[in-house]
């Protein structure tokens, strides 16, 4: 079987064939196919690749993984999603630097800019409160405020679009 695995925003084709109980032939991207002893259970997957032992924990929603103290996003895409991603040229992120997204669910305390204001990198634009702490979201680029999609006291979801900035030229 051929899978498309997304790992920290990058998609890679991985082919897997079962050779026996807990033994697989695995080919990653353009690499050589090789035999890996592996066991999958509710704790994740344990790999014995040659003598190398690697324990990979997998989230129960199949969206992230842990290995040796490091956490990464990693998931298998279904064929349709993989094709879509391929057509889009592998862009995963949202609006890039020009859009300020809410990093978490929370309550808007204050919008510190108005449409048309010029902003510089590092300038605070919105204060959001979550878990009893205020957090200031800052512009990452210089530009002009193009639109504002929230106001004080709004409850917003994580990932909500709050502010759009027109990048300054140059």
């Amino acid at each position: 079987m051929r899978y498309t695995i997304e790992h920290d925003g990058e998609s890679t084709p991985v082919e897997v064939r079962r050779l026996g109980t807990d033994r697989y032939l695995v080919k990653i991207g353009d690499g050589e196919a090789r035999v890996i002893d592996a066991h999958a259970d509710a704790q994740g997957v344990h790999l014995l690749d040659g003598a190398h032992s690697r324990r990979v924990r997998l989230a129960d929603d199949g969206r992230s993984a842990w290995l040796g103290g490091h956490t990464v996003t990693a998931q298998a895409l279904d064929p349709h999603a993989a094709r879509l991603r391929a057509r889009r040229g592998d862009t995963v992120s949202g609006g890039g630097d020009t859009v300020i997204l809410s990093p978490m669910p929370g309550r808007i305390v204050q919008v510190q800019v108005a449409v048309g204001d010029a902003v510089v990198p590092g300038q605070g634009v919105v204060i959001i409160e979550a878990m009893k702490m205020e957090n200031e979201l800052r512009a990452e680029i210089a530009g002009t405020i193009a639109s504002i999609h929230c106001q004080a006291d709004d409850r917003v979801e994580g990932g909500a679009q709050l502010i759009v900035i027109d990048p300054a030229e140059g």
């Binding site: 079987m1 592996a38 878990m131």
Partner: protein, 499 residues
């Protein structure tokens, strides 16, 4: 001793208190918000009553409902934990008036120490050194600025009713003073319902060192060593240790004596913490007294071999401490890393559902967690999900064991600050035990890089897991014998689809 005690809190501290209750054969009961009906602290209790909706102001903070729950559940005493109602003198008084035992200091002591300026005046009168500053809220921005200018920048702005770093701002110069003042007042108003802010001299190379005190109702007042709490971000503690690498036995004895004097000055009974600001010159100044169990109390327990919650319960039940100052000798070294659901770089909270969880085990490791492998970390409450502590026969072993414990810890689904802890442990100043509260503002070492082959291993593991799942789908269902064994799996799948 009590037969049943209500723990008026949630998360790790509620669980931790219930463990000592169970140790003593006392039935633990609790309260919960609508959002917490199946939270870990409720699962661990024998009984629980809902006291209101998710917002703590409408549930955990509504004193009369908590007291009513204690009565209905047949509890004889209430332990408030930290936060929530723990430093609310009116609540403490209401608990006593309801015929229940308040597991905490007398309301008068809470009141005196709850207002930072009252506290300053009280301990100053008892000969306790305080930070240079003006011991009353500034009447208006102009007066605040005048005080700041007189003390000389940098100055600290502090919420009069505050704690936990909320409403605090360090101001380096006049230009940024006004904005900082209004932010501090807004945060103070939101957190404490009181926007009074006062101005203090900023001590150079500041250490945050605190003394644990323990007093009984029979006149015994002891100190149980100090904790070094200088690893802070946004004035919130991240890593604590006991003993402080900055404090020697002589300084410990002097700070301990001053802390006991401060406790006695307000008629203290129970467990409390006297916080000091210590300059690079080793002069120390009273900051505030926390009239409750402290988040970081486990490092003291590990080094001094006491159970502070058990002592709280015994003192509240009227028993004498049965300890002398000479009984309280430190052994080895302990470190605590607070595990927050937050981004390690931006410090932004990261609530969500936990999708994989494993805590470390083995020699020298203590875990106090408030979540399990199926918990959702809600946005409404404190983002701390657990405290990892390690003990070692010396500081180096404690630090090395902490590195291992952090490596063993698996938390997926929410972002945590484990990466930050690794970077602090690797910081030369931290490793040498020479750091002050500015540590996290200095450049931190890079997080350790993944081992070679890391990416390929993850890709292979995810693909193999998917392959095993696909093979399973191809097998016709219903061949499992005479029992319906799939409940957990299917229930799980539904949860995923449902979000």
């Amino acid at each position: 001793m009590f037969e049943r005690v209500l723990v008026a809190n949630r998360g790790e501290i509620a669980v931790r208190i219930m463990r000592t209750l169970r140790d003593l054969g006392i039935s633990p009961v609790t309260v919960h918000s609508e959002a917490d009906a199946h939270a870990v602290h409720v699962r661990m209790a024998d009984a629980s009553i809902c006291v209101g909706p998710e917002a703590s102001a409408q549930s955990y903070l509504v004193g009369e409902r908590v007291i009513d729950a204690a009565r209905r559940l047949g509890a004889q005493a209430i332990h408030p934990g930290y936060g929530f109602l723990s430093e609310n003198a009116a609540f403490a008084r209401a608990v006593t008036e309801a015929g229940l035992v308040w597991i905490g200091p007398p309301p008068e002591a809470i009141e005196t120490m709850g207002d930072k300026l009252d506290a300053r005046r009280t301990v100053e009168a008892a000969g306790v050194p305080v930070v240079p500053g003006v011991s009353r809220p500034a009447r208006d921005p102009a007066e605040a600025l005048a005080i700041a200018t007189q003390l000389g920048f940098p100055v600290m702005l502090k919420a009069s009713a505050g704690g936990g770093g909320k409403g605090m701002r360090l101001v380096h110069d006049e230009a940024s003073f006004e904005a900082a003042l209004s932010a501090a007042r807004r945060e103070a108003a939101g957190a404490f319902g009181n926007d009074a802010v006062y101005v203090e001299k900023f001590v150079v190379e500041p250490h945050h060192v605190e003394i644990q005190v323990m007093c009984d109702a029979h006149g015994a007042a002891l100190y149980v060593g100090e904790r070094e709490c200088s690893v802070q971000r946004r004035h919130q503690k991240v890593i604590e240790e006991c003993p402080s690498p900055f404090v020697d036995p002589d300084m410990r004895a002097r700070m301990g004596a001053v802390a006991v004097a401060a406790a006695k000055a307000c008629g203290y009974v129970g467990a409390g913490t006297v916080e000091f600001l210590v300059g690079g010159d080793r002069n120390f100044y009273f900051l505030e007294m926390n009239t409750r169990l402290q988040v970081e109390h486990p490092v003291t327990e590990l080094v001094y071999g006491v159970d502070l919650v058990e002592l709280q319960l015994r003192v509240a039940a009227g028993e004498p401490l049965g300890l002398t100052q000479a009984d309280l000798q430190p052994r080895g070294h302990a470190i605590e890393c607070r595990i927050y659901a937050e981004d390690p770089v931006t410090y932004l909270p990261s609530p969500g559902r936990i999708t994989a969880l494993t805590w470390p085990e083995g020699p020298g490791v203590r875990v106090d967690s408030g979540v399990d492998a199926s918990s959702t970390v809600p946005m409404a409450y404190d983002p701390m999900v657990a405290k990892l502590c390690t003990w070692g026969s010396d500081r180096s072993q404690a630090i090395r064991r902490m590195g291992r414990a952090l490596d063993e810890t698996v938390i997926l689904g929410i972002t945590t600050n484990i990466g930050l802890h690794h970077r602090v442990l690797a910081h030369p100043a931290f490793a040498a035990g020479r750091y002050d509260t500015g540590l996290l503002a200095t450049p931190l070492p890079d997080a350790p890089a993944p081992a070679s082959g890391h990416r390929d291993a993850v890709l292979a593991a995810v693909a193999i897991a998917q392959h095993v799942a696909d093979e399973a789908r191809a097998v016709p269902t219903g061949a499992a014998g005479d029992a319906l064994t799939g409940w957990r799996i299917e229930g799980h799948e539904r949860m995923l689809r449902g979000g």
